[in-house]
């Protein structure tokens, strides 16, 4: 009985020799590898996102320029004239007698002169 007990305890004491250093190393390598893979994939995702946004920015800029160009065309004096004519609107400058002119720089002196009277 005693003998049996001794044998059993000896068996229980037998351990597979696995160096902790190696285990740590393997864990480290695995973590490092996984991090590397994760970072790589993150970089790729970001790269794709940047590429997509570059394209969007280019397209938006292109559209903006094209719209500016179209707007500028609409504002061409000849086109404005044509648009007025299309709507049967006639615009002409007022007669000289119908213009009120106020010169900012000299208004004060005119007012001062008037009030001194």
């Amino acid at each position: 009985m005693k003998k049996r007990q001794r044998t059993g305890s000896r068996k229980a004491q037998v351990k597979i020799p696995f160096p902790m250093v190696l285990a740590n190393f393997l864990v480290f390598i695995a973590v490092f590898g996984l991090s590397y893979v994760w970072l790589c994939s993150r970089c790729d995702t970001l790269g794709q996102e940047i590429k997509r946004m570059e394209t969007v920015q280019r397209d938006t800029h292109r559209r903006m320029i094209n719209e500016q160009d179209r707007w500028s065309n609409l504002l061409a004096p000849a086109n404005l004239d044509r648009a007025l004519k299309r709507h049967d609107l006639t615009m002409r400058l007022p007669d000289e007698q119908k213009i009120v002119r106020v010169r900012t720089g000299t208004t004060a002196s005119v007012v001062a002169l008037a009030s001194s009277k």
Partner: protein, 585 residues
């Protein structure tokens, strides 16, 4: 086992294949030959050069006159389309959306050996977009910039155009090409098996830089006034060509420069070269009577004559140096002031004789005739002013009336501007500023004095004399403008007959050059018509009314007040009267 032999054989073959592939893979990865390495690298290498967009051309207020916009080359892959049996569909779409002939498109598509054909170049986005939305297989859209001129013909001769390679080929586009053209960008990277860029392998990434924006001194509204007036002139008098310039007399800035016939720079390839000619700077002509203003100004300045001096105008016919000189309207005794007002050839010739050959020559040069003004436009002509040693005895009498010299209308305008600007001749400017893509001003030309041909007092006296030209009794009453005092001079020069010699009796260059307001001139304008064919040919008839048309709109647009309006108002307040009497309600 029943299939043991076959199994072994298959396994052996598979093993051999995999071993072969493995060996090849090992060789490729471990010790690739330099040739292989180069082939792999070149297959993955991606180098893109992106053209920087050309800078914009804008008017003085920032209105866009020229800009690079995005367009498309529409291309097809006929082999792919035919292989997919899609030719009818593609043909219908292309011919329908692009407005092309169906059979022409069919012939282009029906080429099974071709992989790439450009169906239409430089297609605008608004035309290409519906086609792209159809998502047709085998139709390719290539991005390409195109130079667009949103105002069409407005200022075409000043702006010029850039060709399909993006190189300025006329006008400011040509002259300022170095500033306008962008700097190309560069991207070096690698691509994957699907030919997509691998962003993380991008090693060089230099963004393209757009060219600098060029702001002109032109004002689109004044330009439009000038072009509209020329349209009206051409409609009434049917000349070969007509042109006009508006200048700020104080700074020399050109506010408008129009020339007819004109062209649309968006379709420059279809315009005849003659239409593209900017006659304001590269057409030389004998100026005729407008030249008298400079001769008389110089004579007054040198003290050779006074405005009140009387000259005998020989009743319109004077024999000098073996030839008879005529006046179109016979006059007897005229003062110098009247010689200008009536535009007497004989009177002007006698004034020039009093001034003397050397001084006439010197004054012409001092007013800038015979030299380019240096405006930033290509092809400016210097005109011709012969040295006195090449003059005949007759020359001085003919030069006084604007013959035997060739000038450009810009020179003539600049000379009259010198009189308007107290005798100071400024360099005509067309470029206001150049601004780079970061918004920094890289060049901003300042007003530059070219010469002082006459004293300020003489200039003032000349303005008074030139004002009489537009008053009753003068040759250009049609240039008079209500509310403003206008000074100027008409010119009606017979054209030189280059074939037979002498002058044509019925071909004229009519012109009017003037400025306003006389007391404090702000703008000067020249209007010239080459060979008016109907309704008259005198400068006072053909050009003066259109000078008035341009001036009338320009003074109001620029808010140039009529002369003396404030003085009147102040006087009114001083006398206790009401402003309403003077129209200031």
């Amino acid at each position: 086992m029943k299939y043991k032999g076959r199994t072994i054989l298959t396994s052996a073959v598979l093993a051999a294949v995999f071993i072969g592939l493995g060996v090849r893979l090992a060789f490729l990865h471990l010790r690739p030959s330099p040739g292989t390495l180069e082939r792999i690298e070149s297959g993955r290498h991606l180098q893109q050069e992106t053209r920087g967009p050309r800078g914009r051309v804008l008017d003085r207020n920032g209105n866009m006159l020229a800009v690079d916009i995005a367009a498309k080359h529409i291309c097809v892959d006929p082999k792919f389309i035919l292989a997919n049996g899609n030719i009818t569909n593609v043909c219908n779409a292309l011919s329908g959306k692009l407005g092309m002939n169906r059979s022409e498109v069919w012939n282009l598509l029906n080429q099974p050996d071709r992989r790439y054909i450009r169906i239409q170049k430089f297609t605008r986005e608004e035309m290409a977009e519906p086609l792209r939305a159809m998502n047709l297989k085998g139709v390719i859209f290539e991005d390409v910039p195109i130079r667009d001129y949103p105002k069409g013909v407005l200022g075409a001769h000043v702006i010029g155009y850039a060709n399909y390679e993006g190189v300025g080929s006329a006008g400011v586009e040509q002259r300022m090409n170095t500033s306008l053209q962008g700097v190309a960008g560069l991207r070096i990277s690698q691509k994957d098996g699907r030919r997509h860029e691998i962003y993380s392998r991008r090693t060089v990434d230099i963004d393209p830089q757009s060219g600098a924006d060029v702001y002109l001194t032109i004002d689109q509204q004044i330009q439009h006034f000038a072009e509209k007036a020329l349209d009206n002139l051409c409609e009434k008098f049917a000349p070969n060509a007509a042109w006009a310039i508006v200048q700020n007399v104080r700074t020399g800035e050109i506010l408008a420069m129009a020339s007819l016939p004109t062209y649309n720079p968006n379709r420059f390839s279809t315009a005849p070269p003659e239409w593209m000619r900017n006659r304001a700077v590269n057409y030389t002509y004998e100026p005729g009577s407008t030249f008298k203003a400079m001769i008389v100004a110089s004579a007054l300045d040198s003290g050779a004559v006074r405005a009140s001096d009387i000259f005998d105008c020989e009743n319109g016919s004077w024999f000098y140096a073996g030839k008879i000189l005529h006046d179109s309207h016979p006059e007897g005794l005229l003062s110098v002031a009247d010689i200008i007002q009536k535009s007497s050839n004989i009177g002007a010739a006698k004034v020039a004789l009093k001034l003397g050959e050397q001084k006439v020559y010197q004054s012409m040069r001092a007013f800038g005739f015979g030299d380019r003004t240096g405006i930033a436009l290509p092809g400016e002509d210097a005109g011709i002013v012969w040295k006195t040693d090449r003059w005949s005895k007759l020359s001085i009498s003919r030069i006084a009336m604007g013959h035997e010299v060739l000038v450009t209308s810009l020179q003539m305008l600049n000379a009259i501007s010198a009189i308007a600007n107290d005798g100071v001749r400024m360099r005509p400017q067309i470029i206001r500023k150049v601004v780079n893509s970061d918004g920094e001003i890289i060049s901003e030309p300042q007003p530059e004095v070219l010469s002082r041909p006459i004293r300020a007092e003489t200039a003032k006296e000349m303005r008074r004399l030139l004002e009489r030209v537009t008053q009753p009794g003068g040759t250009a009453t049609k240039a008079a403008l209500a509310g403003y005092r206008v000074g100027g001079k008409t010119g009606t020069a017979q054209k030189v007959n280059l074939v037979e010699g002498g002058y044509y009796s019925s071909k004229f260059v009519s012109s009017f050059v003037g400025f306003l307001p006389v007391d404090n001139p702000a703008i000067s304008i020249i209007v010239v018509a080459d060979e008016p064919k109907q309704s008259g040919h005198y400068g006072g008839t053909v050009c003066a009314p259109y000078f008035k048309e341009i001036a009338d709109q320009t003074v109001r647009y620029l808010r140039i007040p009529p002369e003396g309006f404030l003085t009147e108002y102040v006087k009114d307040i001083e006398t206790g009267g009401s402003g309403e009497e003077n129209g200031f309600d």
